[in-house]
């Protein structure tokens, strides 16, 4: 009897969840490396330890952000708990010249782009709505409307073709990755982005983190077939990867990105994973899913399996794991301190940057706003 079945039988209910799907896997939940006919990785021991450090760190930073929300320091937080391997694997697969278009949950990808993790926290604290330069960071601002960014990513990829930046040279040719979730696959924008990228042969990878839920709605409310199979109808390859396996996710994403940059067009990757936490801190997942299902996925944890592998292969010792944990804690404490010291914006700045060329209407309203506030006794 598997753990899933044991958990289900303890509850007296039927076995929860579908059977394990077919996917590319290079690292089992037990921490054993397995081979695949089409995909492999050739990481050095240092790089393997580095991936583990990434996984631990993004989980720790995520937990810190959840705590900050619980303490009233963030308005909301969209946790990536459970999706660390999908994000670290795909994030590290990007080459430096590649461009990423995230949803609002890709904190792990952001971290792997070597971007300061404080950058999106202003959005969740409510002191700004992003405020970074997408092109300078090779990482678009978080997009909150579900699926909208897949079209922006497609247009950006069309621009790469126009700029003659598709080609054989892996160091200069460019590709785009568009992140979205299982729920987004029902959106018109996502389907239109599949069509545009297909007919223009755009260098793009559609990276769908199928975390099994769109807030409360399970996958079967979005699809009757496995999501990766949708790609066939649009005329490009689709592949499913074990999204809790950082090695397989890296291998599949790197291959798809390189295919794209070499001129072979789009790929849809379905990273099969699980949102271990709530949709956001405003959500209560106990209303729509059973504990046994969560337990079953805990047994497939992306961080634990990487640690097991490092232990089994003798690539790391207790001192290493302790040092990684300690360093992650230091980064989390630093993040906390910087969030707490984020000042609220000057209210008059809400009138800034509505238009590149400004507007007399807004100038007038800003002046009236400032005059009104200056009229209060004791104001400066």
């Amino acid at each position: 009897m598997t753990k899933v079945e044991r958990a289900a039988s303890r509850r007296g209910g039927k076995r929860s969840g579908p059977p394990e799907p077919e996917f590319v896997q290079l690292l089992t939940p037990e921490g054993d490396r397995v081979s695949h006919p089409d995909y492999s990785v050739d990481f050095t021991d240092d790089e393997l330890r580095g991936l583990y450090r990434d996984l631990v760190t993004v989980r720790k930073l995520d937990a810190e952000a959840t705590a900050l929300q619980r303490q009233g320091e963030l308005g909301i937080w969209a946790s990536l708990l459970g999706q660390e391997a999908a994000q670290v694997g795909s994030g590290r697969a990007l080459r430096k010249q590649d461009m990423a278009f995230p949803t609002y949950r890709e904190h792990g990808v952001l971290y792997c782009r070597n971007i300061d993790p404080i950058m999106p926290l202003g959005l969740f604290r409510g002191v700004d709505q992003g405020g970074w330069d997408p092109v300078a960071h090779r990482f678009n601002m978080y997009t909150i409307v579900i699926g909208a960014q897949t079209l922006h990513a497609t247009g950006y990829a069309m621009g790469i073709v126009k700029d003659g930046k598709v080609g054989d040279d892996d160091e200069t040719s460019e590709a785009v990755i568009a992140y979205f979730g299982d729920g987004a696959t029902s959106q018109g924008d996502v389907n239109e982005s599949f069509i545009f990228s297909s007919v223009y042969n755009a260098p793009i990878v559609f990276f769908c983190q199928n975390n099994q839920y769109a807030i409360s709605e399970p996958l079967e409310r979005q699809t009757r077939i496995p999501l990766y199979q949708r790609a066939a109808g649009f005329g490009f390859p689709g592949i499913r990867v074990d999204g809790n396996d950082v090695l397989a996710t890296y291998a599949v994403t790197r291959a798809a990105l390189d295919n794209a940059r070499h001129g072979q067009g789009p790929t849809l990757i379905e990273a099969y994973t699980y949102r271990m936490g709530a949709h956001t801190t405003s959500d209560d997942p106990t209303r729509y899913r059973v504990a046994s299902e969560v337990e079953a996925w805990q047994a497939k944890d992306p961080v634990v399996r990487m640690r097991k592998m490092l232990e089994k292969q003798g690539l790391a010792d207790e001192a290493f794991f302790a040092a990684v944990d300690e360093q992650a804690k230091v980064e989390a404490v630093a993040l906390r301190e910087r969030v707490l010291s984020m000042p609220d914006p000057d209210p008059a700045t809400m009138f800034d940057h509505v238009y590149p060329n400004g507007s007399p209407l807004i100038d007038k309203q800003r002046a009236e706003f400032e005059t009104y506030h200056a009229s209060f006794e004791g104001s400066h």
């Binding site: 992003g130 678009n140 409307v145 079209l151 247009g155 069309m158 924008d189 239109e192 545009f196 509505v354």
Partner: protein, 327 residues
């Protein structure tokens, strides 16, 4: 000076913008070989290639959404929406993304896009081909909205809109595409009348008619007819719908004491209401009568055999002027 139709003026303006800046792209349904259903992009794909004049899949959200990505990449996309009533699938991308990207980034990125929309009725079309959706866009901060009314403005305003870093919704009066006028195509772009400025087209002293797009011609004709009856009407082409340029309007109304706003769009919560409110706020003591509106009725656009009864015309404008003088 050349005598050109409004449609040809747009075509030449687009051509000149593409010549001036290699980053300018044209995107839309049927804009390539066909030259657009109104032929506004006629010949451009032949001369600039299908890399710059892009026939797109038939999906408006996709057109606008990918144009955003191209703008992020450094291009200046000019999107054609085939008809006014087909813009709504792109509404989310326009309102949530085009309008807000600059603000969201705190000014770090701009989307220099133009979205061209042939608008208004009077061409005997089926449903969804005769609408006036300008208020939806004018209500959205982050978008600028303009409407041209004559060949010369069409030629210059489209070039100014493309050269602007602001995202601009560009309304074209489709029933006026075939009207002719003088265009000085040899002048430099910098000499053109400013884009976001309203303009007195016919000076007068007795009442002010305010219009944009297709209704400007209607108001000019009404002023000509009124002159025969001894009334001297001033006609202002608003040209910029967001932001409105009210200074010339205030000057005019302080002089005439009477104002009538005319548009094809339904009156309820329309541009005319905003214009009337602003005039009331700024010119209250100059007004001899309330600001009146002549607009489409608050119904869905009707079947084409009765559209002439729906659309404001010369008689309805003059009737409103009479009412203004009745106060």
């Amino acid at each position: 000076m050349e005598t050109l139709t409004l449609g040809k003026s747009l075509n030449l303006g687009l051509r000149r913008a593409m010549e001036d800046d290699s980053k300018v792209l044209i995107m839309g349904e049927d804009v390539g070989k066909l030259g657009g259903v109104f032929r506004i992009t006629d010949g451009l794909q032949k001369d600039f290639g299908d890399d710059r004049v892009i026939d797109t899949p038939l999906a408006e959200a996709g057109i606008v959404g990918t144009a955003i990505g191209l703008a992020l990449r450094g291009y200046r996309p000019v999107v054609e929406i085939q008809f006014d009533g087909f813009v709504y699938p792109a509404y989310d991308q326009i309102v949530c993304q085009v309008a807000k990207f600059h603000y969201r980034s705190r000014g770090k990125v701009s989307l220099p896009m133009v979205i061209r929309i042939p608008f208004g009725g009077g061409i005997g079309a089926v449903e969804h081909h005769s609408e006036s959706p300008e208020a939806y866009f004018s209500h959205t901060a982050g978008l600028k909205v303009v409407a041209c009314s004559n060949p010369s403005d069409a030629y210059w305003m489209i070039q100014q809109a493309i050269a602007s870093d602001d995202p601009i919704i560009f309304f074209e009066p489709k029933r006026r595409y075939w009207e002719k006028g003088e265009v000085d195509t040899a002048a430099p772009l910098s000499a053109a009348y400013p884009l976001h400025s309203s303009r007195v087209l016919r000076p007068g002293t007795d009442a002010t008619l305010l219009a944009y797009g297709p209704m400007v011609r209607t108001c000019l004709d009404a002023a000509t007819a009124a002159a025969e009856d001894g009334r001297n009407l001033e006609v202002i082409d608003l040209r910029t719908l967001s932001p409105l340029d009210m200074v010339p309007v205030f000057e005019s109304v302080r002089k005439t004491g009477r104002a009538v706003v005319v548009h094809e769009a339904p009156g309820n919560i329309g541009l005319g209401a905003e214009v009337a409110a602003r005039i009331s706020e700024e010119c209250f003591y100059s007004l001899e009568a309330p600001v009146l509106r002549v607009t489409g009725y608050d119904i869905p656009y009707p079947a084409s055999r009765v559209e002439e009864e729906f659309l404001p015309d010369l008689d309805r404008v003059l009737e409103a002027v009479d009412r203004s003088f009745g106060f």
